[in-house]
């Protein structure tokens, strides 16, 4: 059972929610795409339900709301260090099923792999997740193959059409907030995709020595190492630490962590000019095997959620899906190129 709001009532609802929460959803950033007169669809604070983009996949995922791209973790003055204050408001994030599954991966790394991450945890604890249904599959989605087309770890479900907004709360706090609002009782099934054009079968096992198979070699010449595939991925979590002192006051500075990419130069660089995976073929292999092989070895389920954003964004048309298909063709001890 949920609440059905007419458009004008939905305005009041959003105002009410905005008193308590910063509300993030995929929205259009006009003219901010890579090329001129193209838009970027990514997460931003919405001021109207109409800001939410439904008819397209967001280019970048929700993860930047919980893990800012460039996140200051300590401020330094001459003698002291200070942890930045948490954001004043709680958050609501509107996201799709695949991204809710990605959230589980973020939780895995930031809450259970080693010590709990202070910054992630304090953001995460104050966040409500509202599931956006998918009426249809987008190009390059393969959520059904990855088992991420349905999710249950959400606090409410939202469905919209031109005239109305339907909100079905599961979370008590949201239920209380919706009480006494101007709305009708209603009930809708959750929209989810049952079939994608793209399908993958990820091999259960890979032969030993897979890292040295020739299938990775072609990527050395094709990949330009821009890191877009990592930055759009909802499950990539790597960061690099940066310390700086301010230009205008050299006595003060900050320590921040900044998104990092295993495809970009410098990812493995250590003091003394030592680095690993120097060519892009090895980096592609590192990424792909992480998504569909070694993460599962460690945590028991695949890292990749099948959103296909990496497939959509690659400027060199390197297809992650095609690579998975090639892995699927490898028979134990065999070789994709044979």
């Amino acid at each position: 059972m949920g609440n059905l709001f007419k458009k004008e009532e939905a305005v009041l609802l959003l105002n009410k929610l905005s008193d308590v929460y910063d509300i993030y959803a995929p929205m259009v950033f006009k003219g901010e795409g890579c090329f001129s007169d193209t838009d970027s669809i990514r997460y931003g604070k919405i001021t109207s339900f109409d800001d939410i983009v439904w008819d397209k996949k967001s280019d970048y995922s929700f993860k930047e709301v919980l893990l800012p791209i460039s996140d200051t973790i300590l401020y330094f003055t001459e003698k002291e260090m200070k942890v930045p204050d948490p954001s004043e408001k709680k958050r609501i994030i509107f996201l799709r099923s695949c991204d809710l599954h990605a959230l589980k991966r973020l939780d895995e790394i930031y809450l259970t792999n080693g010590a709990e991450d202070f910054y992630y945890k304090r953001a995460r604890e104050n966040t409500k997740l509202i599931l956006m249904g998918c009426k249809k599959s987008f190009d390059s989605c393969f959520c059904v193959s990855m088992g991420t087309n349905q999710a249950d770890n959400y606090d409410a479900y939202i469905k919209m059409d031109k005239e109305s907004v339907y909100l079905e709360p599961k979370d008590e706090e949201l239920k209380t907030l919706l009480e006494g609002t101007e709305s009708e009782e209603a009930s809708f099934e959750i929209d989810y995709v049952t079939d994608n054009i793209e399908k993958v079968t990820i091999p259960e096992t890979l032969p030993e020595g897979i890292q040295d198979f020739p299938l990775w070699e072609e990527y050395a010449g094709r990949c330009v190492g821009c890191g877009r595939c990592n930055f759009v991925c909802p499950t990539c979590t790597c960061f690099t630490m940066q310390d700086v002192f301010y230009q205008d006051n050299q006595k003060a500075g900050e320590r921040r962590r900044v998104w990092s990419s295993c495809q970009v130069d410098g990812f493995t660089d250590m003091a003394g000019n030592i680095s690993f995976r120097k060519d892009q073929g090895a980096r592609m292999r590192f990424k792909v095997l992480h998504k569909v092989y070694d993460y599962k070895k460690r945590f028991g389920y695949h890292m990749c959620v099948g959103c296909g954003r990496c497939e959509d964004v690659c400027p060199e048309y390197i297809s992650y899906l095609a690579c998975i298909h090639k892995l699927g063709e490898i028979k134990d001890g065999g070789n994709a190129d044979e």
């Binding site: 090329f35 001129s36 007169d37 970027s40 821009c226 890191g227 877009r228 930055f231 900044v258």
Partner: protein
Amino acid sequence: MDINTKKVKKNAFRISKERGLTASRVRVPGGKCNAKVLGIIKEIAETYGNGNVHLTTRQGFEIEGISLNDMDKVNEMLQPVIEELGINQTNPNTGYPASGTRNVSACIGNRVCPFGNYNTAEFAKRIENAIFPNDLHFKIALTGCANDCIKARMHDFGIIGMTMPQYDPSRCVTCGACVKGCDKLSVKALSKVNDKVVRNEEKCVGCGVCVTKCPTRAFTRSQQKYYRLTIMGRTGKRNPRLGEDFLVWVDEDTIIKVILNTYKFVEKYIDRSAPGGKEHVGYIIDRVGFTEFKKWALDGVELLPETIVNENVYWSGIHYR
């Protein structure tokens, strides 16, 4: 055969080396046309011409081998082309009313090219509508970015697309793609300071490479579209030369005003006794002086605060005379 050659030329037909034959010059503003135009060109060429069509450097078709007697019929057949391309016409079915100002040509721009900073054909059509028909000899070209594939700098007015890079440090991951891109492909205006990127505003040519290289949308294009307006580049016998920057970080409306003002300037100063009454705008400025031109060009123009006006412009090139 009694033909007024001046009228023929003005009507966009050529006096050819072969007696009795002409060629019809069809302009395509901005170089963009619907493919159905090609069908009509084909029909004209096969019905009245010798079957050959020359693709001109200014993005037109020259339909060869037409009898001077068939000009009226060709003009009638050209009517749907003129309408499709949105050419300002005085009387329907009479072809082109003027041919002095040349076709406004353009590179493919951001309709297709990833480097293009604006829709070149759309802007070309806007200029077309503002200046045509016109008998004065002006050459204008538009190019999407500082690569200048259309060679706008060899025109009286060269319009080079620019974008003012907008940098959001909170989206920057210090991957260095912009810095490297600017260094390898452009003018090395970016540097890394404190693990973020600093843009040297004086050096930056607004090419947009940083924006296309940025993997996280830390660099985006300005909502305002900017241009570099270069002036008085030319080919020719006496002093071929590249156009020099006149206005940098200028907007579309200003460019149109400056071009229209320049027509007024030419009307005022053109040497009517020159052969055929034709004097090229660049030579007029050589004669009258840049300062006088600038006074006319910027008359009534309100520039954006960020627009840079070059107070003095000096051209070089080769002097054969």
